[in-house]
Symmetry: C2
Amino acid sequence: MDNFNFYSPTEFVFGRGRESECGEYVKKYGGSKVLIHYGGGSAVRSGLIDRVKSSLNASGIKFTELGGVQPNPRDTLVYKGIELCRNEGVDFILAVGGGSVIDSSKAIAAGVLYDGDFWELYSGKKVEKALPLGVVLTIAAAGSEGSPNSVITKEEGSLKRGTGSDVLRSRFSILDPELTQTLPAYQTACGATDIMAHVFERYFTNTKEVEVTDRLCEAVLLTMVKETPRVIADPDNYEARANIMWAGMVAHNGLVGVGRSQDWNSHGLEHELSALYDCAHGAGLAVIMPSWMEYVYKHDVNRFCQMAVRVFGCQMNFEDPEATALEGISRFRSFLKSIGMPINFAELDAKEEDIPALVDKLGVGSGKRAGFVELDYNDCVNIYKIAVNAHI
Amino acid sequence: MDNFNFYSPTEFVFGRGRESECGEYVKKYGGSKVLIHYGGGSAVRSGLIDRVKSSLNASGIKFTELGGVQPNPRDTLVYKGIELCRNEGVDFILAVGGGSVIDSSKAIAAGVLYDGDFWELYSGKKVEKALPLGVVLTIAAAGSEGSPNSVITKEEGSLKRGTGSDVLRSRFSILDPELTQTLPAYQTACGATDIMAHVFERYFTNTKEVEVTDRLCEAVLLTMVKETPRVIADPDNYEARANIMWAGMVAHNGLVGVGRSQDWNSHGLEHELSALYDCAHGAGLAVIMPSWMEYVYKHDVNRFCQMAVRVFGCQMNFEDPEATALEGISRFRSFLKSIGMPINFAELDAKEEDIPALVDKLGVGSGKRAGFVELDYNDCVNIYKIAVNAHI
């Protein structure tokens, strides 16, 4: 096991109706003037924003608000948010939404206290301080409610860049599974795929003998395999929603990756798909991840057998372990298909002839992308090619 | 799933040699004058205390020290520690040891800032504030390095009382698996049993459909089932020690119990054994826990089948689920025996004729102890009786 630090100081406030307590938690964590930051109209139409305001009012917290966060949140809104916070004397950011809203909130929180252009913090400069942040989560997917990370897109040139710092971890995150019940099945499935991908990116490692982390990864994956079909079949199933929402946090606060190397190449390969075709991140991952697995499994057949047996319930074929490894990958792809995810380029409206452009944009150049298996330019082309014709 | 809060703000610093960084972490978390609190001579003889002092010196941190913490830590030493801290202007407590040292440190941390007798904080009064605390862990067992709890014994009358508060959670906990390599096999096995018991007390619940917590429980248990025999056979196996040490934290920082009712009756039944016979807590649990399981399994046969199949690898007997449940309990007891634990009264030097005294001290009276299954006076007698003659 490699040496590591694990730090997840967020207070998670989980369950039905807990958003009505957000005023108390803002107060507990020192806020007196809040920016409520959110996305489109659904948080307003559903009455959630009103309930949040009532709770803030009840605790005597002042607030201002800024909606309009888009998927792949933009730098332009972040600049607006920073200016608003400075003008209004905001001392606490409250993100009400999913990963995009939280990431935009993190950027504002850091930008307000940064003496310069906040984009520098997404271009290599370390985030040293940030306003305190709280979250009311509405989508189980990105895990940003428990992570130190944020990804922002610069409109000019469509540059997507990330940053990470423990000061960007939210002070509290309210997770009410009921808030996810109105989410359409497709988005629910995209979120579930993202959650599973966050685990798989950590599961495929070259560090040996980290059984406890393996088992924790498998715990989250097994939960997703059981609960996702239940929630697709029955969107109002609170228990299934609750299991998925908590699994989404556990998948990405760092716990299931400690003590070993990680991969993240599938996320990289996917980001180019969603950038070019404006597809959902989870949908792109459903196309890429099993294709990546098929391309790299020979690097460690036993690890893929472990996934096949422990996560997807395959019988180990002791005479032909490769068959078991491939059976596991096939079951994963069938699972994704069964919850309504695309599994190949056509189903994503992606085109084979764009592959050179995708790999060029990925920026592999003549080098290699580090990971479970290092990938050069041709490797990336080959993985996209598997994804073109993938089927079950 | 029940509503819950989960909060584990401790920074965990894990791996070989990390204790050499303790000065930096004390500084990071605001300490300038430290009380180094530890137990017997082994931490001194091994050179650990000297390494800790060197690290503090290198960071310009002043310190004083107080050794002598005994298993089942006493109020008398806590009073000494509080006085010492006040006289010396200590602003940070550094616990170097296992659960007893950490619990004693938590009591001192709270006591220093309490205007009155600290014992009131162990008699129902809420702990509102405490000096910041750091930990250098030397035994994988109690989980106090990640928990908000502390148990202290009042020498006068041998009263054992606990308290819990988020302000008692350590700011950082350094977990170096190498520090546990000198631990005798028996103590290692006692620690492993305690870790598994912390999970089982949360695993047996009456709350349905909390799959994610079930799976996280099973992740820790499966890790312990795999790694404990490895470390008993080969005490210098760093990887096995590392997996166990991290599993011990995960088992008790709250994560594997969220969203549901818990039990803790085995812990209660055991405390009377260790109080009367001065046996190790883990050894007492090895005698009690399978006996408790045999007594209560009919309350939820399927849950015991789940344990049998998922944790102990039993084949489900679909024609006779009770047989599977009992097979799982039997495998657990065999496992405990295999790692050198006692499994019945005789092996613990306990006496059947003491049972009435044990139950009287447990204080059931004419009421019931809440849990997975409520236990009255006779239930407790019967569980101890099963433990008398337990065998494999």
